[in-house]
Symmetry: C2
DNA sequence: ACCTGAACACCGTTCAAGT
DNA sequence: ACCTGAACACCGTTCAAGT
């Protein structure tokens, strides 16, 4: 495990080979299972067998740690959307699969999703690459719309504007579901997403 | 000012005639101008010339105070939507006006809007009437869709489902705008809302 | 009833000090 | 370079005590 460390720790070389990565991973785990409010630097440090101030060697502050968590989220999010679109065949079926994958990611990573979007502006000031990761996820949707336009399934026009419209609708469905605004029925979110995708098809395919 | 108090304060009867209302108002003011993170019980109490624990006579905890703030928000929100729909003539023009009023409320009350939606589920456990206030605002949208269906401007179907779709799209536009995800252009939110309303008309008026 | 003041158990962050 | 431990300035909440 530790044998390929640079200098073969004489006594006990601090803690990790990569504390930074361990911190992000542990923070993401905590957020996922107990919510962002449960994320304390003391807890995450303690769970890694490290002082609560060790993190300041790798991040300027708690917000910077959260920004790293958000980046990781956007990367995974992007992958999920891309895969749904591709596996769905890059047509309207793929479009629908992408919408369901969108909701699924938000539902399975509620707190993580909230960090990604809720604190976005503030977190962008802590990690200059966060914006690019978010943009990269968004571009999957833009690319899909360009394809739908080329095949004549979607009306012409700025694909970025159309993508923002679809994104907003999806984001709204996800947020209302996560925030519990659709009532106690656990299937309400998926039902709303399916209905929304159907209506979005109409909105996209006709002038 | 104080002359119509019940017993004409002999020395200095505590503080307010209605501390509860003053607390909600002051909390809303603080949230509006400095964000929800700046809302500390010490500050809101101090600004009213009251101990930081005085609030526990009127609310079970900080969350209950926030729930009251959220309720006040939904009531005002409902009024704004209703007025836009009515002044707009209760047709597609009113529908568009309602969408713009929705965004305007969210933009002018960013932090307040976040409290209303972001903490909804948790806050519902603190104030049993919060859900009814939120539902009341939502019903304005449902009523509008029923009217549009009756005039033949919207397709038949469960108006609640349609309203949820429109609501999600509006909420998504509002959240993306508030969270700074549409880029630095301050007009991006309104542009997206206008485009969205146009597409929603298409989605609603055709099968 | 309504409010206070001290106390409690938490936070994130800073900084001199250790290896 | 990397990490620690004590200290600082905050929190929300509880509770005995005052009027």
């Amino acid at each position: 495990m530790c044998y390929n460390r640079r200098k073969m720790a004489k006594k006990r070389a601090y803690h990790h080979g990569n504390l930074r990565q361990a911190l992000v991973r542990e923070a993401a785990r905590t957020i996922k299972s107990h919510g962002v409010d449960a994320l304390t630097l003391r807890a995450v440090g303690g769970r890694l067998g490290v002082s609560r101030t060790a993190l300041y060697r790798h991040f300027t502050d708690k917000a910077a740690l959260l920004a790293a968590v958000a980046r990781e989220g956007f990367q995974q999010f992007r992958g999920n959307l891309e895969q749904a679109w591709t596996d769905g065949g890059r047509g309207f079926a793929g479009f629908e699969a992408m919408g369901l994958a969108y909701l699924q990611f938000a539902l399975r990573n509620r707190a993580h999703y909230r960090v990604m979007f809720g604190g976005f502006k503030e977190l962008c000031g802590r990690d200059s690459e966060l914006e690019a990761d978010a943009e990269s996820a968004f571009q999957v949707l833009v690319g899909a719309l360009v394809t739908l336009q080329q095949s004549g399934d979607a009306t012409p026009g700025d694909p970025v504007e159309l993508a923002r419209f679809v994104w907003a609708a999806s984001h709204g469905v996800a947020m209302l579901t996560i925030d519990g605004q659709l009532g106690p029925d656990p299937a309400a979110g998926e039902a709303l997403m399916k209905l929304s995708i159907g209506r979005l098809k109409t909105a996209l395919s006709r002038a």
